[in-house]
Subunit: 645 residues, 2 copies
């Protein structure tokens, strides 16, 4: 087995990047002041933390099999926020939770609330459905993050002990289980543990899970029979649901549950990188291309349907019914990061940026305390975003919730916002990639030097970015500046001298001897764009969406009145972008000429012959706001895709 | 209690109307030769008939709680078909089934497969969910139909005995259950039994069920507690699902499960008529108006969502996701018939006709042997018409099935086609209403005379109808000819003399002394109409549908190529109707100018800035076929609502 790290680029760790304002500064402030405390409050009042005491008694409400992961992800998010601001109160809260978790660990290292306190007899008996390894993965990620933030080892050591237990339980030996988790996540977590501890066994175990997945006979069939169940009675009907219908190395398409897919291929990309397994990376690239070319919303949302929380078929992207789970957007960000490690191409960051500014951030309210699980691209009063065979529609609007019974999304949102700084830069030998633009200062080790880089920008509301380089000595390296795919015109100057280099894989490389105080000024033209969808996306036929820079816009009823389906944007409509400092702490809004089309008089009934009607096209000035901030004001209709002419 | 029959019109019984060709003649021939035998075959191979032997043993697959109704509806359909053509083979088949049913009846009169052979301890313990009275209702309807067709009493007597048992079990006395069925149906069936036997108790019992429905405390809560269940854990979440959230007399809106609603209000309208209960009829009228003004598809389909198989909210009529259950269309036809009894207004027949020619007939394949449960108004390869929390989308097309586990739709289809003749005419004192047009001859008793009326027409492909009157003696009466709401220009002549009377409530009354051989010639102008939907139906915004006469058309991929979402019908497109004698036994198809809009070149990816693209508008001649015949040829896309300009 090749174990050399074949990554071509590496992320710059969070510790090195200080976000000191701008768009993400505001989001992180809200995350720290609103989201992380409010999740802690929910974990408390829902007894998710108390459940670690393992004192469940028959007759009491049962802890849920996912609960461990909620703690893990909250600690991870809180850990990232400590990197920026090491507040003792938060650290004490985490330490108390860690103490609970430590006490819950069994002598053999096993660590799980439900399968210790409620159904100990069912430990490891249903990998397909019961999420034990998924829980383990999130705890590992939390432990790694908290260790990196604080240097405290207790939680990490607990998870090392658990990982060692898992390593004895799973593997190729006859006395081991040859299984893998129905909900991938542990794969990427074990890679993190390997990278943190240097312990090869964790990487090997992760690779084992990946290699076993989808092999015949399918492990899920075997364990189902061992439980006395008929494997054909699998509730999700097909192992495509969990990307286990065929071996990983034969997979080429995005199928099944979107979050599972993105976590899985994140781990697979890691393993490909760390084991030098090029064919395995080709699998990731193939699935990535399939997904981003055929099944991704303009918001970066993934998963067209609630029925499998995932993918359906090419070009099937319904708007009102979109599932586009917040977690799937988050997982896509993580996956993109890993793809860039092996293939430094802006196309991955383009997708990451699309998700971050749109379908991920829409998952949280502006005040950080309420959350969307699904992120539809159109909303209408009375629509129930979660159709199911057991739900009857009830009146009301689609609004964010404080929490969910299955609460995967809120802490996922918190951890991606708290850790967004690690996406800003990548390094490769003597190249410093600037991936994302936002006010920040970073100290980045690069071929023997430390590059002190500072961005000054009001991105994404403005495409002007000033980068200042600080160096203790002259240094030869390449500064590679990303030109986002949405940008069709840009200029770049270094110390006042225009640079005319063309982008390579989406990055303009500026190779020179850099000196302290050098300045690069990048101007990304950021006009309002009318975007159309692929002609096979039937749900967007005849419609346009508005985008400016990476930000996708939407119309809300509060700004534009009701019946948004009858609003059209003529081809020649003049569109204006204006910064509104009063709205959502300052955002750019788009306005312009639109028409509201409706019959002068409707004779009654539901259907009328067209010749009997006269339609009026009432002009009005529409106002579009960033999609990520929808549903923060008065409830009403919302639409991303608006009728064209 | 007032029991005088206050019907203003009465249907003309099936026995008096002989359909001798034309559109419905062909449908009935297919029904007799294809549908009724194929349902019998399915009842046999699925052991639904054998289940009447009550020999289920633990460990065997359980009969379903709906199975009784399948037998009942099949006998009803077969009974109607015997009226037209009394084939001894079919009659022998029915008699054999009746023998089985008779033997299954318990000494106390109780009659139910599941609750006799599988769970006798649960008899009448869950009226909310378990369909016992629904089953009883369909058996009663079958028994009445078979008795009327053949004069044979055995099946009727079995059901009378069962109805008597039900009458002892349910009612206001302390020793009786004060319940009613979660799935209405028995109400209208008991009215039929009352009308067949003259036994007042059946009408009283039906009225009792109606009056109890939705009264506080809700019976379903009481019986749930008696089963040791928490009523709040009701799977459908609200009793609106079964129209039992508030008392019938307070209901004004169409809510919940569409089939239940239409069966319920059919029975309610009957009771209102037969008890002279005007306020009760106003309830029906209010719900009817709400439903037809806010929640009905252009096909007459009802029920926007699979989640409750029913209504959602006003103007919510998604096309691909439409449930529009075949049974709901059938039930709407029956309800319309009963509304007309009390309110002789063409608006009810307009809805009936809309359902019959479109959303009902689409439920069966052209050869009569395959069935749709849901009748969407748009189809796309790979769409799963039954999204549910436990189904994962699989590749494939939406096609009719031979049968269903819950097989309510096929025999419902069969009985409405076999009995459609009873919708053709109504009588009131000295008025003969002609409701539907089709080749037929009827002998109709009217104020002491028998009117022999014959229609000669190729309706719905042609709007010319020639009506010949046969009389043994001169007779004064009013012939009221329906002018469908879709018709905006008509002419009428009697014996060559133009009649200029305006329609009253949609009927032109021709009052005169009629003589043998008199002829009325009605010409209904039947141009192709472009129909638009109410501006609040967001799913149809910017779209048109094509309708000619009562027939709604659709585009299919086989005639128009793929990507139907990119096909537009310009406002000024010339539209032509042409009879195609080769297609589906002869149907009128519509053709005309359309454009296929697509980018000249798509640069790749899912989303592109519009200014980079040039759209070509390729003209082509489209072909639309009657919606009811879709999905009978090569699979592909289908759309009823097509983009306008």
């Amino acid at each position: 087995m090749t174990t050399g790290n074949t990554r071509l680029t590496n992320s710059v760790p969070l510790q090195h990047v200080q976000i000191n304002g701008g768009f993400w500064g505001a989001r992180q402030a809200t995350n720290s002041a609103g989201t992380i405390p409010s999740i802690y409050h929910q974990l408390t009042i829902t007894k998710r933390l108390d459940a670690w005491r393992l004192d469940w008694k028959p007759g009491q409400p049962k802890p849920h099999i996912f609960w461990d992961s909620d703690s893990g992800k909250w600690i991870e998010a809180a850990g990232y926020s400590l990197v920026k601001n090491r507040t003792p109160e938060l650290e004490a809260q985490i330490d108390a939770v860690v103490d609970l978790i430590e006490k819950a660990q069994q002598p053999d290292g096993y660590l799980n609330i439900f399968f210790t306190s409620v159904e100990p007899q069912n430990r490891w008996r249903n990998l397909r459905d019961w999420h034990e390894l998924y829980d383990a993965g999130h705890l590992i990620e939390g432990a790694v993050a908290y260790f990196q933030a604080t240097g405290k080892r207790k939680f990490l050591d607990v998870l090392i002990k658990y990982a060692d237990h898992i390593d004895t339980m799973f593997g190729p030996r006859d006395d081991q289980k040859h299984g893998y988790c129905g909900h991938p996540e542990v794969e990427l977590a074990l890679v993190k543990l390997y990278e943190t501890t240097g312990e090869q066994r964790y990487l090997d175990l992760s690779k084992y899970f990946v290699d076993e997945r989808g092999k015949q006979p399918i492990y899920f069939d075997i364990e189902a029979r061992e439980r006395g169940e008929d494997p054909h009675q699998y509730w999700a009907k097909t192992y495509r649901y969990c990307q286990a219908d065929i071996p990983i190395r034969e997979q080429t398409k995005a199928t099944g549950h979107a979050v599972r897919a993105c976590y899985l291929y994140s781990g697979v990309a890691d393993i490909a990188a760390l084991t030098g397994d090029a064919p395995l990376f080709e699998v990731c690239r193939s699935v990535w291309d399939d997904l981003t070319q055929h099944q991704m919303y303009i918001t970066g949302g993934l998963g067209s349907t609630h029925s499998n929380e995932g993918f359906t078929f090419n070009y099937d992207l319904p708007n009102e019914e979109a599932y586009a789970e917040t977690c799937a957007g988050v997982a896509l960000v993580f996956w993109a990061q890993r793809m860039f490690h092996l293939d430094p191409d802006s196309k991955y960051i383009d997708v990451m940026e699309r998700a971050l500014y749109n379908g991920v951030l829409s998952g949280v309210s502006f005040d950080g305390t309420h959350f969307f699980y699904a992120n539809p691209l159109a909303a209408y009063p009375n629509i129930n975003p979660y159709p199911s065979s057991t739900s009857v529609l009830t009146d009301g609007y689609y609004r964010r919730s404080e929490f969910f019974e299955c609460a995967c999304c809120p802490p996922n949102l918190a951890r991606v916002v708290a850790s967004v700084g690690q996406q800003f830069y990548s390094t490769a030998d003597d190249t410093l990639y600037v991936n994302l633009y936002n006010q920040n200062r970073a100290l980045i080790p690069l071929s023997g030097n430390t590059v002190d880089i500072e961005q000054e920008t009001n991105y994404p509301w403005d495409g002007d970015i000033r980068l200042r380089i600080g160096l203790e000595q002259l240094a030869n390296f390449t500064l590679a500046l990303r030109i986002p795919s949405w940008c069709r015109d840009f200029s770049l100057e270094v110390n006042g001298t225009p640079i005319s280099t063309s982008p390579i894989k989406g990055y303009v490389p500026v190779s020179r001897e850099w000196a302290n105080g050098d300045e690069a000024v990048l101007k990304l033209a950021m006009p309002v764009e009318r975007i159309v969808a692929h002609p096979q996306i039937r749900q967007d036929a005849g419609c346009v969406a508005l985008q400016r820079g990476p930000v996708v816009y939407c119309l809300e009823e509060i700004d534009n009145g009701p019946q948004l389906s009858n609003v059209a944007l003529p081809d020649d409509a003049h569109l204006t972008a204006e910064f509104d400092s009063q709205l959502f702490g300052g955002v750019t809004v788009i306005s312009g000429d639109a028409v509201h089309m409706q019959p002068q008089e409707w004779p009654g009934g539901l259907y009328q012959p067209q010749p009997l009607l006269t339609y009026t096209h009432s002009p009005f000035t529409f106002k579009a706001i960033p999609y990520c901030f929808w549903a923060n004001r008065q409830p009403g209709e919302m639409r991303v895709w608006i009728r064209g002419n």
